[in-house]
């Protein structure tokens, strides 16, 4: 009785993690988990710099699992060519994207026309055969969801642009060939795992901002395109 009386009352929280930002990573048959630390860093940066509450651990989810639909943000990557996806995976991913899910795809190998790049584009042609990828223009809202950006770097600068597969007005898949999470990844000692080329630490900072913007886009979509923001953003971009 004394022990229970002495015990400090715990704060009861009725709200679970569902409303928080959870950096989910898609499990597939290839190397899918090379950037877990980058995702942890993204969640931490998101929580530190913005009002978003995050889960600070990446959560793996099989692509064919119904649990995919509980995770509105999914990171899909590999450091090599993607394996062929099974029909249930393709179907699940298609439904996920159609019903509002968001995928951030990231070429960890910085490939262009081969490796992850080639295989991912082929994958998307099977998942969303009627949607063509389009480069996101500099005016797209993803470049102003939190930070004002005019570049889309990662660990590399393989491509200056982001590509997107858009359903309606919503970019359901945003794809970077520049290994964005590679710029955020740290090893166990806390040191950044990879060098960022060619821009060094300044490029790493911009890659971090881009990752935050992409996460914000998944949460807010085109909120920053509302008229109330336009004048102020235009003034700052001058």
């Amino acid at each position: 009785m004394l022990a229970s009386a002495l015990a400090a009352p715990a704060v009861a929280r009725a709200f679970g993690d569902a409303s928080r930002f959870i950096p989910a990573v898609a499990q597939h048959a290839g190397t899918w988990d090379t950037r877990a630390s980058g995702l942890r860093r993204l969640a931490w940066e998101l929580q530190r710099r913005t009002s978003v509450e995050s889960i600070l651990e990446a959560r793996a989810v099989p692509l064919e699992s119904p649990k995919l639909f509980e995770l509105p943000f999914v990171y899909l990557s590999s450091d090599r060519e993607l394996p062929a996806f099974t029909p249930p995976q393709l179907e699940n991913l298609r439904r996920y994207l159609t019903f509002g899910g968001f995928v951030f795809a990231d070429a960890n190998d910085g490939s262009n026309g081969n490796g992850f790049d080639q295989s991912f584009r082929k994958l998307m042609s099977e998942v969303l055969p009627q949607v063509q990828p389009r480069p996101l223009p500099a005016t797209h809202v993803v470049f102003k969801t939190f930070f004002l950006l005019d570049t889309a770097p990662g660990r590399y600068l393989t491509s200056a642009q982001l590509d997107a597969w858009t359903i309606g007005k919503r970019a359901a898949v945003i794809y970077s060939q520049n290994d964005v999470m590679g710029a955020l990844a740290r090893d166990e000692s806390g040191t950044f795992e990879y060098e960022v080329t060619p821009g060094g630490e300044r490029q790493r900072e911009y890659a971090t901002r881009l990752a935050i913007n992409i996460a914000m886009y998944s949460l807010c979509l085109d909120y920053k395109d509302d008229g109330v923001h336009i004048l102020e953003i235009m003034r700052r971009r001058r």
Binding site: V11, A12, R13, A14, F15, A18, S19, R20, R48, R49, T50, S51, V52, E53, P72, G100, K144, T145, F146, F147, L148, R209, M216, L219, C220, L221, Y223, K224, D226, V228, H229, E232, I233, R236
Partner: protein, 448 residues
């Protein structure tokens, strides 16, 4: 038919032969008669000779009779009087006084018509005078009606009246010989710009002399709201423009203003300056009604001294203000998937006008960059909750942290309370920032 008929008789030929044939045959008969008479000239006995001449001439005359078939035609001639139409302007402007403080223009015309009555009576065997009033139509009128009945016509269309008059000619007994027009000249149809162009051509082709008598002095001063053009309804909080035609007579160089009011409260004003003694200005009032319902708006111009008519210095119109779309304010304490869904749901509804704000950064958050590198804007609390709160149909406040003084809404409690009392709706949705600790939230109006 006002005529006296006279019968006359006339000798005519009933023969069906053409005139030239008759002349030819007549000439032939004459030659035959002459030759016949010459043939008898050798008759020795004079009495017999004369008798034969007489018989031959009689035969020629009878032949001529049978040839030309003479007859008598009875012609009845009726004398028709000249028809003079006296047209009297019956438009509302004829109620104006002829001079300041004087009798109305209609009454003045009635006096003139009465004064002309003896002369018309003296000419009645040759002329018939028809008194008709005109505004947009013709109708018979008497001088008594001119004195007693106020003119009510909304339009003066002289050319249309003249056309109607011409069309009523019908048979020759109704043929028009002349028109006498009494008017103040304020035509607002085809002659608005004067007798020129097509109007001049119409009058030239009329074929009947038209004489005019101008009624009223030219120096009258009057400022009048001539007309208002505005839609029957407007959408709340959407701009609408009312165009008001203001006519100024005798106000050359005068500056003034037109005022639009609702319930005695000024809604808009427009400055006016008149350039001539007969000037028409169009004042435009653009305003956005802020409430739904049916409202009476009044447009007015000042009443100046010596104005002939003061009742026309203001005019009212009714405007029905209806809801356009439901206007929703969505304020989220932080971005979450729930708010994303709700915002998307509201945004795709065509009946909803959504204004949304996410608090993307709280005081403790450190973006690590200068403000210029952020797309963030200050949360316009004052503007929304003090000035514009009543423009929303619904306030939806989601997971809002009132402990943060930089965004707290407590200072707007009175404004929100009044908004609710005025019929506004509030949806206050909790979350980990509001109800997460299971404590009573410090939220607007909740403690009330």
């Amino acid at each position: 038919m006002d005529s006296t008929a006279i019968d006359t008789w006339k000798l005519v030929s009933l023969s069906a032969l053409p005139v030239w044939a008759l002349w030819g045959l007549g000439a032939a008969l004459l030659i035959a008669a002459v030759l016949a008479c010459l043939g008898v000239a050798r008759e020795p006995i004079p009495s017999r000779r004369w008798a034969l001449w007489g018989l031959r001439i009689l035969a020629a005359i009878c032949a001529l009779f049978f040839l030309i078939e003479p007859g008598l035609r009875r012609v009845s001639v009726a004398r028709v009087k000249n028809r003079i139409a006296v047209l009297i302007d019956r438009s509302a402007s004829m109620n104006f006084p002829t001079s300041v403080g004087g009798k109305s223009r209609s009454a003045t015309v009635a006096e003139a018509v009465n004064a002309l009555a003896p002369q018309m009576e003296a000419l009645k065997d040759r002329f018939s005078f028809e008194l008709m009033g005109f505004d947009s139509e013709l109708s018979p009128v008497t001088s008594k009606q001119l004195e007693l009945d106020p003119a009510r016509g909304g339009k003066t269309d002289l050319l249309a009246s003249l056309r109607s008059l011409k069309a009523s000619e019908g048979t020759s007994a109704r043929k028009l010989s002349g028109v006498l027009v009494f008017s103040d000249g304020a035509d607002n149809a085809e002659l608005t710009q004067g007798v020129s162009g097509r109007a001049r051509q119409v009058l030239q082709d009329y074929g009947v002399p038209v004489s005019t008598v101008a009624v009223g002095e030219g120096g009258l001063k009057d400022l009048a709201i001539d007309g208002i053009k505005v839609d029957d309804f407007a959408f709340v909080r959407n701009s609408i423009t009312a165009e008001v035609e203001i006519r100024a007579r005798g106000f050359s160089g005068q500056a003034t203003q037109a005022v639009l009011k609702r319930d005695g409260r000024v809604v808009a004003t427009t400055p006016l300056k008149f350039g001539s003694d007969d000037d028409l200005q169009v004042a435009k009032f653009t305003f956005a009604p802020d409430q739904t319902g049916r409202f009476v708006y009044t447009v007015s111009v000042p009443v100046f001294q010596d104005e002939a008519v003061t009742e026309n210095n203001s005019r009212a119109f009714t405007l029905k203000v209806i809801r356009d779309r439901v206007r929703v304010l969505l304020v989220a304490g932080r971005p979450t998937w729930d708010e994303r869904f709700l915002r998307g749901l509201l945004k795709q509804d065509a009946n909803v006008e959504l204004i949304s704000f996410y608090i993307l950064r709280n005081s403790p958050d450190d973006p690590g960059v200068s403000q210029d590198e952020l797309s963030l804007i200050p949360f316009p609390r004052d503007e929304i909750f003090r000035e514009k709160v009543n423009t929303f149909d619904l306030l939806a406040i989601l997971n809002f942290n009132n402990d943060d003084p930089s965004i707290a809404l407590e200072m707007y409690e009175d404004s929100i309370k009044q908004y609710l009392l005025n019929g506004g709706a509030l949806a206050y949705v909790g979350g980990d920032r509001t109800f997460g600790d299971a404590r009573r939230p410090r939220s607007p109006t909740c403690s009330r």
